[in-house]
């Protein structure tokens, strides 16, 4: 009956338990290390940029004098950029997600669309820059306008919002759908009145994630040739403009060391901006969380 030497096994257990404890410690240290890097990064940026942060910095245009340089044009430009990206991605992204989750038949075409979306999510942003330059700036003659940059960014972040909307829609319990169908509601009605309302938190979170990505991306703007010497606020969608990351890139490249501080201050503004966006996402998630 006894193939196993129970004594020996019990003897070994202690060393296995110790090894486990040790490795757990190693993993914990690795985790803390990464958190430390994040803390260092934030600390470094804030301590470097803090000296330059002020209301004037927010309210001034950039300047050739580091002391006077402000971020107004870029900040407004980025906000306007968001105002293009948000509706475009929201409409196309959510529509795509609904199609894929609720309507798409299991055909090769559907499969292609799905694969295509996850591929698109992995295409380097700089390539979207080349696309935008060819199609929007030159092809449709939109110039280096808010609209051209906004559309480019929209295509770039579209996969983000599609995927999170898909997840949100998929997360709506199927029994809610069934309840609606069970009462004779047709499909679109069910989607509109049951599925979408229930998926709002997920969709909103995805939308905000997409926006944060769009606000922070630099490479496509560089390729589009977005100008940096801009002393006016964009007046409309076809107006030229500059954006936060572009402005930071410009400052970071300048030879005068004082501009490094300005760049850091710009980065702090950008990060606060993103933080606000993300807190909004967290708030939405929190507010709707206790629903199911």
């Amino acid at each position: 009956m006894n193939l196993i030497n129970q004594k020996e096994i019990l003897h070994r257990i202690q060393s296995r338990v110790n090894l486990n404890r040790f490795v757990k410690g190693v993993f914990l240290v690795a985790t803390l290390l990464v958190l430390a890097v994040l803390a260092l990064l934030l600390f470094r940026l804030i301590s470097q940029g803090a000296g330059h942060l002020s209301l004037d910095f927010l309210g001034n245009y950039s300047s050739r004098f580091a002391a006077k340089a402000g971020i107004k044009a870029a900040l407004v430009g980025s906000i306007l950029l968001m105002l293009v990206v948000a509706p475009v991605t929201l409409i196309i992204g959510v529509a795509t997600a609904i199609y894929l989750e609720e309507y798409a038949p299991k055909t090769k075409l559907t499969n292609l669309i799905v694969i295509n979306i996850s591929n698109l999510a992995g295409v380097p942003s700089i390539i979207f820059g080349l696309l935008g330059l060819t199609v929007f700036v030159r092809g449709l003659m939109l110039g280096k306008s808010v609209l051209a940059a906004g559309l480019t960014m929209s295509l770039l972040v579209l996969p983000v919002i599609i995927v999170s909307s898909q997840e949100a829609i998929r997360g709506v319990p199927s029994d809610l759908r069934e309840a609606s169908y069970g009462m004779g509601a047709a499909k679109w009605k069910t989607i509109l009145h049951v599925v979408l309302p229930a998926a709002i938190p997920g969709i909103a979170t995805g939308c905000i994630l997409a926006l944060s990505r769009a606000v922070g991306e630099t490479a496509p703007l560089v390729i589009l040739g977005i100008p940096v010497i801009v002393y006016f606020l964009p007046t409309g969608l076809l107006s030229e403009f500059t954006a936060l990351p572009m402005q930071i890139f410009d400052w970071a490249k300048r030879p005068q060391p004082e501009f490094q501080t300005v760049a850091a201050a710009g980065i702090v503004v950008l990060m606060v901006f993103l933080l606000l966006l993300n807190s909004l996402a967290v708030y939405i998630r929190y507010k709707y969380q206790k629903r199911y």
Partner: protein
């Protein structure tokens, strides 16, 4: 911007308002060497003319001309005269333009602070050092007394007027060393030379001035680049003129464009000095103004 406005006389402000016709857009692009001058001018101009929206990109002289040819811009900054091919393309595109000389720049040759061997180079030495010959160059190749260490080269990018000028006028059209770090971004060059004991680079005088304490400038034929030597023409052959190319049609059709260009020419000299370049003689500006009036 508003604060500055108040310090000016109310009369000036009124004239400023008076010649601001309506909202209008002006778009420029081009040389990174010229950019600091234009940045200053646009900054000042925008403060008194909030309705005129001037944007300036920094794509290098060549990149600027590309957009100028494409009709995307109203003026183009250049740190060299327009090339023949570019002129031909402009003609093909039906774009008439006027050249305005707005300042002088001295190309400065710089080495690392810890470099205690190079003080002075002749133009021929410069050419020998910077011309590609298929080998990794050492300092000792130039002067046997110098260290047997490889030189790290830093040069403005191929689309910059500075590069063109250097290759055409100093290297006489020969290839620049291939292992040079090329960058449109002058800060990259400053940083590179600053951190590399064997670094050797060249770029606009303004960038040298801005980083004077981190770099060591090399005399050329015994002459150090300074305001005086550049202006007086003794710092040769490395001093060169800077230009703004203006699209005639824009000046004719857009009163704001005329205003802006006039302002530019009137203030270019002062602004150039402020950011570290050198004024051209006053006659040059007068000539520029005259040709501008002719376009109206």
């Amino acid at each position: 911007g508003q604060g500055d406005g108040k310090s000016k006389s109310s009369e000036a402000e009124q004239t400023a308002k008076a010649d601001e016709v309506a909202e209008s857009n002006i778009s420029g692009d081009g040389s990174s060497t010229v950019a600091p001058i234009l940045e200053g001018i646009v900054e000042e101009y925008s403060a008194s003319h909030p309705k005129t929206q001037v944007s300036v990109g920094v794509s290098g002289t060549g990149g600027g001309f590309e957009k100028f040819i494409n009709g995307e811009t109203d003026f183009s900054n250049a740190s060299r005269p327009v090339k023949d091919e570019e002129a031909a393309k402009l003609k093909e595109a039906g774009i008439d333009y006027t050249e305005m000389k707005i300042a002088y720049d001295g190309i400065s040759i710089v080495v690392n602070k810890d470099n205690d061997w190079v003080e002075d180079l002749t133009v021929d030495q410069l050419k020998e050092i910077w011309t590609e010959n298929g080998k990794n160059k050492k300092w000792s190749d130039i002067n046997p007394k110098w260290p047997k260490e490889k030189i790290s080269f830093y040069s403005p990018g191929t689309d910059s007027g500075t590069y063109d000028y250097f290759v055409n006028d100093i290297l006489e059209g020969k290839d620049l060393v291939k292992n040079a770090t090329l960058s449109e971004d002058d800060n990259v060059l400053v940083k590179g030379v600053e951190s590399d004991k064997n670094g050797l680079g060249y770029f606009g005088f303004a960038y040298y001035l801005a980083n004077k304490d981190q770099l060591k400038v090399v005399k050329i034929g015994g002459i150090e680049p300074t305001h005086e030597t550049i202006k007086s023409g003794t710092y040769t052959p490395l001093s060169r003129p800077l230009f703004v190319y203006v699209k005639n049609k824009s000046v004719k059709e857009n009163a704001s464009m005329y205003n802006f260009m006039k302002y530019t020419i009137e203030n270019a000299g002062e602004m150039a000095e402020a950011v570290g370049y050198v004024k051209t003689p006053d006659e040059d500006y007068k000539k520029d103004l005259e040709s501008l009036e002719g376009l109206k």
